[in-house]
């Protein structure tokens, strides 16, 4: 995925190594963390453990995929956690019509949320961070109003199977995430829309001059982010076997943004790294797991997390300001 400009760079030269570290910094960090865990964490290399990490990373990863697209256009979507809450609130309400209908309704709600965000950004020109902040504040409230504020157990067998089942040892939720990663990677790399998205983020004015449908691209990106957040909401609900609109997806926007940025997508837009985002999300998940498994107190854990995040971006920073 990473578009390393290798043209004419001598392998092994300093420039080459720096380029590598920059482009693969997140993978290096990931590798180091795995090594550390092999030494200090009991049972780290068990299939069960790997599966647990994979399953736990799914919601953040799915949200981060959408976030990466939004960030690619120089935007940001703070509302993803609330959209997850909306999805989880809607799900049990429509399970009576069957799981498929219920899930489709959840996704539609996500799309509607994205449409709201996208319209504010594209048509009114509200800055993304505040446009989506409004839904961050209001969306969860709405989810709680809809659901009456209470957590609800989800007993639907299909949904439970989605959360707990697996094929050939691969949990369904992980499978869904993998499919989404592939789709988003294709979208970014292979479709007109994907290339236009990157252009809009790289230089909105030039994109407009090139006749690109800037507004439509922006709108589309927020809609996709909304839908992906809703997917994350459904998956998380399935796994929890409960709809918990008050807590589900709390602060996930920060984790997702971190995953995206640690994965090498700059917040200044104009570039989207899909595989990097996956690696970023996995890195964040492993940090959390490492700290919990080794029973590090919350205070120290937070400080350690801060240092690791900054260190990870430090490895892959751009040299030269120009």
């Amino acid at each position: 995925m990473s578009e390393l400009v290798t043209a004419g760079v001598r392998p092994g030269s300093r420039a080459h190594l720096v380029g590598l570290a920059r482009d693969y910094g997140v993978y290096v960090a990931l590798g180091l963390l795995v090594l550390v865990n092999l030494v200090i964490t009991p049972n780290f290399l068990s299939v069960d453990n790997l599966r647990t990490q994979a399953v736990q990373v799914v919601p953040v990863l799915v949200v981060a995929l959408g976030m990466a697209l939004v960030i690619g256009t120089k935007g940001v979507d703070l509302s993803v956690g609330s959209v997850m809450a909306l999805a989880t609130a809607m799900l049990p309400m429509y399970l009576g019509y069957g799981p498929v209908v219920a899930v489709v309704i959840c996704l539609a709600v996500g799309a509607a949320a994205g449409l709201l965000n996208g319209s504010l950004v594209a048509f009114i020109g509200v800055q993304p961070i505040v446009a989506t902040l409004a839904l961050l504040v209001g969306g969860r409230g709405l989810a709680l109003v809809i659901s009456g504020g209470q957590l609800r157990e989800v007993r639907n067998p299909e949904i439970r199977e989605l959360g707990a089942g697996s094929v050939f040892g691969v949990p369904y939720t992980v499978l869904v995430a993998v499919v989404l990663v592939v789709l988003v990677a294709l979208l970014v790399g292979r479709t007109t829309g994907g290339r236009q998205l990157v252009a809009v983020g790289g230089n909105p004015r030039a994109a407009e001059f090139a006749g690109l449908p800037v507004k439509r691209v922006l709108l589309g990106v927020y809609v996709i982010a909304g839908v992906l957040a809703a997917v994350a909401g459904v998956l998380a609900t399935a796994r929890l076997t409960a709809s918990d609109p008050s807590r589900l997806g709390e602060l996930i926007e920060l984790s997702a943004i971190t995953a995206v940025v640690v994965g090498g997508t700059p917040l200044t837009g104009g570039r989207v790294r899909v595989l990097g985002t996956v690696a970023g999300a996995v890195l964040m998940q492993l940090i959390t797991a490492t700290l919990i498994k080794n029973d590090v107190p919350a205070s120290v854990a937070q400080m350690a997390q801060a240092l690791i995040i900054v260190a990870a971006v430090l490895v892959q920073r751009e040299r030269n300001s120009s």
Partner: protein, 334 residues
Amino acid sequence: ANPEGGGANPGGTSGGGQQVTKTQDAGGAGCTLQQYGVEKLDLTKATVGFSQSEKEANPFRIAETASITAEAKRVGARLITTNANSDLGKQISDIQSMLAQGAQLLIVAPLNSEGLEPALRAAREKKVPVITVDRKLSSAAPCKDYLTFIGSDFVDQGKRAGEAMAKATGGTGKVAILLGSSGNNVTTDRTSGFKDYLKASAPGLQIVAEQTGDFAREKGQQVTEQLLQANPGITAIYAQNDEMALGAVTAVRSAGKKPGQDIKIVSVDGTRNAVESIVAGDLNAVIESNPRFGPLAFSTAQKFYAGETITPTVIIQDKSYDTANAKAEVANAY
């Protein structure tokens, strides 16, 4: 259109779960109208302000607000409510705003055991008595900053959880603690009570991990999954609220173990879902934390205005649920 049903009865008025006073701390001299320096008031015509600390998004808060709202209605008082949304600054503004709107009596569920001084000062200046519920203000002075505190003893809840844990495990095992949110004194108290009990009365129970689950079900589930893999020897889990315990149940099950048997789980709160889980055998015991403050708060106020002396602390009697009584008590859980 909702075949899922589930959910709990949000009302706080159901007869069975009424709060009962356990102790009336007579440590201080108590408090009278004259001592507090406020005017007599007819509650049936009064404006009462209730400042809730957190969103009504969990059974405890829902039941607490519902109970106070219902009792105000029963008494006939006009009630203004605010919700601080877990923001201390907002709770102060909320209280001041209610004073500005003419509240004559305040019931406050403090977000934190410290930090309400400015709001209490504003109430004092307006000669409006404050009853604090569910969380005790640690350094504020009763009969000066506030009239009285009505609520549970969180340390005691921790202790009783320890006791229940000892009973469920037979006194030996490796325990993981799912802590509530950091910085919350409920977390601190429920931890210290539990640990004190273990040290004193159940030395065979060894604490192998303490990780925060933020009082949330999903977090409880995720943390438990991680802990069980890192410490396969864990035999018991103490969750500081029901949500985390129920998350732990799912995690234990997905680790291929039987919750309630292979791994004993004890929690605090006493929500309907949790008590039902005891019945189902997934949880071993739940210590109640009763949120139905309405009747006791209003009757305390009525006594106060009637000239009686009010003790500075009213500790309520919390039940405990276990396999023996859960089935019978489900209906009383909130």
